[in-house]
């Protein structure tokens, strides 16, 4: 097993201890698995709570801080957290203005956050929820669990986080989060599977020289396997898959996201091709972010997320943010 770990059982707890050591500006409750910005609850501010399985770092704990999440609940690797964590997080960040749960659309996440919302409301916290389901590789139909939540999570958390920091009320923060989620679409490819600590071997076999199109962020295979494509071809395929679903009129935010093991050198090169195809399709680009943000352990590959941004979303995107993984303006 090629892993820098002690034993699979303590991977998440170990990471939380390491996170705490590196980030004194966060309160890390290792036992209960809740990461909260140290100054929470911030008076008169809507709390923003997200969470999900571990293995997607820096998502979500790396996005906790001023201008973004108030708290994050990391589950076991690729396993959504339990309601107890979310209830605890909600209680820790609620200033009385309510809490928004940002939920990636996976059966597990949805069910656990739903349960948590009920429990938190029982404890007197006003809770709203927004679902992120941006992955166009999955048909959103009666015959699936709906589209998966992937890269757009970053856009939702950043932009809703900025709205919350401005002091906007829960309904507004929720509406903005919903707008971002609704205007964002993603498509991902894998050049290798990933290896979870619990399993210790790759989640699927992908011979060198082939790639998976339309993968998610949990080491599951994609919709289709093909002979290896060039960066140019992949960019064409991914962007066109998105544009089939989302016809942006406004300039877009672009996230070119690495799945974990793809070198930044390749990721920037891939971004060049993504920008080229967007220009060819007449899509204007307002901002571009390139990096490993919503990962799938040691999977090689990348995803593209586009978010159609109006003036307000752009202003909120540009607003200051100070988290371990995303920082600007302060």
């Amino acid at each position: 097993m090629r892993m820098l770990i002690n034993v699979p059982e303590t991977v998440v707890a170990d990471a939380l201890r390491g996170l705490a050591a590196a980030h004194p500006e966060l309160t890390v409750d290792v036992d209960n698995r809740v990461v909260v910005r140290r100054d929470a609850p911030v008076a008169d501010k809507v709390g923003l709570v997200s969470g999900g399985g571990s293995g997607h770092e820096p998502l979500h704990a790396g996005f906790v801080g001023p201008g973004m999440l108030s708290a994050a609940c990391p589950g076991e690797v690729f396993t959504s957290p339990v309601p107890d964590q979310m209830v605890r997080a909600a209680a820790a960040v609620d200033s009385g203005k309510g809490v928004l749960f940002v939920v990636k659309n996976y059966t597990g996440d949805v069910l656990n956050f739903d349960m948590a919302a009920e429990l938190a409301e029982d404890e007197g916290v006003q809770v709203a929820k927004v679902l992120v389901d941006d992955d166009v590789a999955v048909t959103d139909s009666l015959y699936t669990a709906g589209r998966r939540g992937t890269g757009a999570t970053l856009f939702v958390e950043k932009i809703a986080g900025a709205a919350a920091d401005e002091g906007q009320p829960l309904e507004r923060v929720e509406a903005i989060a919903r707008q971002v989620s609704g205007s964002s679409r993603s498509f991902g490819v894998a050049l290798s599977a990933c290896t979870t600590p619990a399993k210790g071997t790759p989640t699927f076999d992908l011979p060198s020289g082939e790639l998976e199109l339309g993968i998610g962020i949990h080491g599951e295979p994609g919709r289709e396997r093909r002979p290896m494509m060039t960066s140019r071809e992949i960019a064409d395929f991914a962007v066109d898959a998105i544009l089939q679903d989302l016809q942006p009129r406004n300039p877009v935010l672009v996230l070119v996201n690495g799945m974990g093991a793809t070198p930044l050198l390749e990721l920037y090169g891939f971004n060049a091709e993504v920008q080229r195809v967007l220009a060819e399709r007449g899509v204007a680009v307002a901002r571009t972010l390139v990096g490993n943000y919503v990962t799938s352990l040691d999977m090689a590959g990348a995803s593209v997320t586009l978010c159609q941004a109006d003036e307000e979303l752009l202003r909120l995107w540009d607003a200051p943010v100070r988290t371990p993984a995303l920082r600007w303006g302060m």
């Binding site: 339990v82 656990n112 619990a198």
Partner: protein
């Protein structure tokens, strides 16, 4: 009649069998899932067993409610709320009785399975745990052994299906040809029930 101790033994048997089969469950969850089902249930049922030992609830219903709550609080993922709801709602349906009949158990389990279907929105044929649980509950009238067989057959019968719920559904047609991990673990749960009942009978209780 079945008392709280019987239900504790059922849970213990499930814990042992999930612990034994964890790797296989995770392996089944690799090609069409995210390779965590085995460790999820292992973690959950170990917590169930620990809690039952510590609190020792006095009624069948209380045993299952506690077990369900433990699963919800420790498993996460899709299977945590679903299995948690199964046991919790089965337990609730059993009420406060100190002992329950086989028929009461069958009825309560049906209520539990229906709660799972409502929570997760899955119907038979969607390639989920429902495909093992529904046949098991249907067969329970013919006895525990029949339920066990039905659950196992139901699990195996998920292989040719295309998934319509859970993360296997993301794969579309590629989900065909793989046995569903949740249906497989449901068969383990039912098998543990049958084993526990057989042991009870053998002991002449």
């Amino acid at each position: 009649m079945f008392d709280a101790d019987f239900f504790r033994r059922w849970m213990a048997a499930t814990t042992a069998s999930v612990d034994r089969e964890a790797e296989r469950l995770t392996a089944l969850d690799s090609p069409i899932g995210d390779a965590d089902h085995g460790s999820n249930l292992q973690r959950g049922f170990l917590a169930v067993s620990a809690a039952l030992e510590k609190e020792a609830p006095a009624t069948p219903g209380a045993v299952l409610v506690l077990a369900g709550r433990q699963l919800i609080s420790t498993v996460g993922g899709a299977s945590g709320p679903l299995y948690g709801t199964l046991l919790r709602r089965t337990g609730k349906a059993l009420g406060d009785a100190a002992e329950v009949s086989a028929e009461q158990l069958a009825q309560a389990l049906r209520a539990g399975v229906e709660a799972v279907m409502q929570l997760g929105g899955a119907a038979p044929g969607d390639k989920t745990m429902i495909d093992a649980l529904v046949p098991a509950v249907d067969a329970l009238g013919e006895g525990f052994a029949a339920a066990r067989t039905a659950a196992e057959q139901g699990a195996v019968a998920t292989t040719p299906l295309q998934a319509r719920k859970g993360r296997a559904s993301y794969l579309g047609e590629r989900s065909i040809g793989h046995q569903d991990p949740g249906a497989t673990s449901s068969a383990l749960l039912v098998a543990a029930l049958a084993d526990t009942a057989a042991a009870k009978e053998a002991a002449g209780e």
